[in-house]
Amino acid sequence: MTSLALTRDRIARVRPGPALAALLIAAFLLLFLVVPVVQVIFVAFQDKTTGAFTLVNFADFFRNDLFMRSFGNSVYVSAMSVVVASLLALPLAYLTTRFEFRGAVLIQSLGIIPLIMPPFIGAVAMQLLFGRNGSVNLLLRDHFGFSIPFMEGLNGVIFVQSIHYFPFILINLSASLKNIDRAMEESAQNLGCHGFRLFRRIVFPLAMPGYVAGASLVFIKVFDDLGTPLLLNVNDMLAPQAYLRISSIGIADPMGYVISVVLIACSLLALWVSALAMRGKDYATVQRGGGGLARRRMKPLELVAAYAVVLLILVLVLAPHIGLGLLSFATIWSFSPLPDAFTLKHYHTVFTESGQYITNTLLYASLAALLDVVIGTAIAYLVLRTKLPGRQWLDYVAMAALAVPGVVLGIGYLRSFYGVPMPFSGQPLSNFWLILVFALAIRRLPYALRACTAALQQVSSSLEEAAENLGATKLRTVGRIVVPLMSGGILAGFVTSFATAAVELSATIMLVHSQSDAPLAYGLYVYMQSAAGRGPGAALGIFAVIIVGLGTYLSHVVIERGRRERGQDH
């Protein structure tokens, strides 16, 4: 242990300021990440009545048909979502990297649009468009006499998830394709290779790490997601089962914990597999003067085909948004391709009855995001700029949140904080709204931390040394030099955290105690439970899309402006 090896000499050199910050962060991570998760794992291995160590809970899990079916379904849905998402992403990535294609801008927006709306919000709208009696199938049946089961059972989850998550594959795959040096391809041509063989032997293997990274991310996200299956009323999957066990039987029932452990194990497994696939394969081969594969102009027929593919995917990607928009203005929409009539009533309902959802969301998400960038910046600084023993562990622990599904964190919080009474009111601590903020902050911390670390890595330490040399203290240097130079990255981290926290459902749904404390995502879930609530629910969903979309756009503008001002325009 490093701490034991500390000599008096080394202790003397550790400054009190960074050490204090490190201790505070460590305490926060311990209390709101490590303890709840360890608690969950602990309970899964505990006998319900005696509290002794046992494997009987796991035996029960594997003997239970419902759980085994749920497990199988979760694996199947995640794997199929990866397949469908790949089918959407591959042609788009190929088009942008291989051809001089004006539609590239369109493809870039395709990569962002789905991400600004969480899948569960669009799920109901997708039912209305693609469900058994949705617009598309009604039209198909009327005109051609058949229908397509897009949304039947697990199909619905796969369909909604892959439309939402394919950008992860698109972005990663495009990036690694762009990182292949042109000489890689040319040298193969020079040695007599061309066409599909060239793609199979050189281009595809070099792009593989990017694809695996994207695909494993999609797998984990889909495997852990609670909101989409819940809203589509598909309950025989793992995350919904964990939620239903806890919410219907209670926090003492061990099965919820066992499922949580299985979820964590699967996330870790997927991360491990992708790490294994990527090991020793840092294939970024672009040399100076190089840059990307050779592009060529498309022939007219190819151009038509390319636009057809892009437009088809664009329509699919926009379908949830369009459906949601229609639904939010619809009087009645049932068994017809389009709503019967339009109204503003639902927006009125949301404003008068449910304003608290929106204000709560803004409050929680901005607090969580603020917490994230403060902690993210601090950890980045501690890791990169100090010699504090054990500093690397702050980074590891914060990143570990990536492998903890929201529903698991929610269960862990319930278990850890339900028994702790609040001062004065005597209410359980887990009912306190700030706990929700902490849960959101922990969930989004890995993204903010990476953004802050990347930003700090770009600030040369000689800039700091210059400030100190001219008489600034460490703290003043951080305030006047480091943080301003990191501002672009910090802002990006803030917005990502904010936008995703604003529509988080998995952890939220476990922890919301009263309607008045509930954020938007929870309100939406409640509305969507009844047919009458769909309209207002959709209107609320539109608000969510606007909040997230606006945030994303603003950060883009600010970051671009900052980059231009600092002349980093390349």
Partner: protein, 384 residues
């Protein structure tokens, strides 16, 4: 580069002699003819009426500053870009319409372009596999090629585990193993450190000599081109400025660009006037210099000579026959070891003079006046 890599670059690999006997007997060397080539990217005219005849078995260099079009011309031969006009013939056959993979032209890329997902052996075998060579023969020829560059013991490593010099050898082996008609080298030494570069260029030359492979070498380094190439095409601004042996180019540059690019050149402004014995060059601070009869009085141009063409006179004797005399004042000096370079102000123009140095010789003081003699037949009058 890691220090361990550097260590492995020392003996014995470093001193390995290429042994071409291991490779299959070479097919006959072929020449390359480039005729009337014009190439533009949009409004950017990159190659302007390029004509070259590269002889079979020759080690030929495209030499020029960056942006002169030398790499574009090399890539044109390999088929990675297309000229709007003109043709390229290899062994008399027009290859302008062939796609890169059917040209049989081996190219070693500046970045080596070794595929990181394949071992050294797989990299080298790639071109033979594409040619559907039988498996047993592939193994035999890959072994021979790796033997040739002294890397057989590293055949199962990944490129990322090799040092820069080793990667360079793998790239070379990967190219020569397919027995291409000609070999193209795109700044192959630019990614190596200075010491290794000197070593590698000798090895390149001995490999080329033994294989008898017509080779084109692109570089911006005149020393590199001078030391290993039979002939050089000096390029600037998309045009071939001059073609010749290194000595030719240095001693008889066709224009001021070639003169300056192949070494330090003193250039004096002045006029050409008619005299008794023919034209003479008249300039400030210099006695008239006799010019060859081909230069007519009134011709525009400059007088060019090398720093070592000047002789410092301190004894006050008149210039020997056929010599012109320059009078100036030393501005500053650089001690180079074997010689001392003085910058001398001659009639308002700076002239560099190299004086050989021996231990015990005194240096001339800056600001001292100085008399210099120049043999007229060493100076050249260049019209552009």
């Amino acid at each position: 580069m890691k220090t361990t890599d550097r260590a492995s670059e020392g003996n014995p690999i470093m001193n390995h002699q290429f042994s071409p006997a291991a490779l299959a007997p070479r097919i006959e060397s072929v020449g390359v003819d480039i005729e009337g080539v014009n190439l533009s990217y949009g409004s950017n005219h990159v190659l302007k009426d390029v004509n070259l005849a590269i002889r079979p078995g020759e080690f030929f260099a495209f030499l020029g500053p960056s942006g002169c079009g030398k790499t574009t011309l090399l890539r044109l031969i390999a088929g990675f870009n297309t000229a709007q006009q003109g043709e390229v013939r290899i062994g008399g056959r027009d290859i302008s319409v062939l796609p890169p993979h059917r040209r049989d032209v081996g190219m070693v890329f500046q970045s080596y372009a070794l595929w990181p997902h394949m071992t050294v052996r797989r990299n080298v075998a790639f071109g033979l596999e594409e040619r559907r060579v039988p498996r047993a023969e592939i193994e035999r020829r890959v072994d021979a090629a790796l033997d040739l560059v002294g890397l057989k013991h590293l055949a199962d490593r990944r490129p990322s585990q090799l040092s820069g010099g080793q990667q360079q050898r793998v790239a070379l082996a990967r190219t020569v193993v397919i027995e291409p008609k000609i070999l193209l080298l795109d700044e192959p030494l630019s990614n190596l450190d200075a010491k290794l570069r000197v070593q590698m260029r000798q090895e390149l030359l001995s490999l080329q000599r033994k294989l008898g492979l017509t080779t084109i070498f692109v570089t911006h380094d005149q020393e590199e081109a001078n030391t290993i190439c039979d002939r050089i095409a000096v390029m600037d601004d998309g045009r071939v400025q001059q073609v010749g042996t290194p000595q030719d180019l240095y001693d008889h540059p066709a224009n001021l660009f070639v003169a300056g690019f192949l070494g330090t050149a003193n250039v004096l402004d002045g006029t050409v006037q008619g005299g008794d014995g023919g034209s003479v060059f008249v300039g400030a601070g210099i006695t008239p210099v006799a010019l060859p009869p081909s230069v007519a009085p009134g011709a525009a141009g400059k007088l060019m000579f090398r720093p070592q063409n000047l002789i410092i006179r301190q004894d006050g004797t008149p210039p020997a026959p056929g010599h012109a005399r320059l009078a100036g004042r030393i501005r500053h000096r650089e001690f180079l070891g074997a010689s001392i370079r003085y910058a001398v102000d001659v009639g308002g123009q700076l002239v560099q003079v190299d004086a050989p140095h021996q231990a015990g010789d005194a240096l001339l003081a800056p600001d001292a006046p100085i008399i210099l003699d120049l043999a007229a037949d060493k100076a050249r009058f260049l019209s552009r």
